[in-house]
């Protein structure tokens, strides 16, 4: 009963390094989302996908790229990490029916030094 799995759970990067966060869901969900959460800021949408091979920008997309090559996986890439990208990153998924709840992963805690 895995649901949404995020890898890694913790990571420390140096400024300028790149990395990829992986999100995998086993619920056959059409929609997948990447959020970042900063203290007092709530959840802000970075990018999202409405199906395999389709992605779109959210509220704060700059400095990030995404790919959805397989329906079950949604990758978030940091091209050149900056201290402002220090945050907790959450992946979520939901079914394609309208107004469905989102299921979240446990999050990735990322620190950029």
């Amino acid at each position: 009963n895995a649901g949404v799995t995020q890898t890694p759970k913790f990571r420390v990067l140096k400024t300028g390094q790149s990395m990829t966060l992986l999100c995998a869901q086993d619920m056959n969900h059409e929609y997948m989302y990447w959020y970042r959460q900063d203290p007092g800021m709530g959840l802000r949408l970075i990018h999202y996908s409405v199906g395999e091979g389709t992605t779109a920008k959210g509220e704060v997309p700059d400095g990030y790229n995404v790919s959805r090559l397989k329906k079950q996986n949604f990758l978030l890439g940091l091209e050149s990490a900056a201290p402002s990208q220090t945050s907790v990153y959450f992946c979520a998924s939901r079914s394609g029916y309208s107004n469905q709840p989102q299921h979240f992963g446990d999050g990735t805690r990322l620190s950029i030094l």
Binding site: G42, L43, V50, R94, F104
Partner: protein, 113 residues
């Protein structure tokens, strides 16, 4: 555009007391969802309200959707230490067909024994 405002941002409650958190929108919402995030955890879906004036209960939690479908409230009776966390309301954007969920900033609840 559609925005979901949540108040208060922070709530300090004595164990056994009741409290209410509110969610307001300037536009009519198709539905409202509530999530709970425990400290160090991820958001977990609690409930969805769809109908005007709808009231739903989950044990000590009572959720209400306003008659005009522009506001919602979460009332917790006899608060317990297990109620600690941040409560988010969220609504799908009616102007967007891509399924983006608009989250409120959340109400952080601290319970004193």
């Amino acid at each position: 555009g559609q925005q979901v405002m949540q108040i208060p941002q922070y709530q300090h409650v004595q164990e056994g007391e009741d409290f209410t958190t509110y969610c307001n929108s300037s536009t009519t919402l198709s539905n409202i969802q509530w999530y709970k995030q425990r400290p160090g955890g991820h958001p977990v879906f609690l409930i969805q309200l769809v109908k005007s004036g709808e009231v739903k209960k989950q044990k000590r939690l009572t959720f209400q959707f306003g008659e005009a479908k522009k506001n919602s409230s979460l009332h917790i009776t006899a608060t317990q230490t297990t109620d600690v966390g941040t409560y988010f309301c969220a609504a799908y954007m009616t102007t967007d067909s891509w399924g983006k969920l608009q989250f409120g900033a959340g109400t952080q609840v601290v319970v004193t024994p």
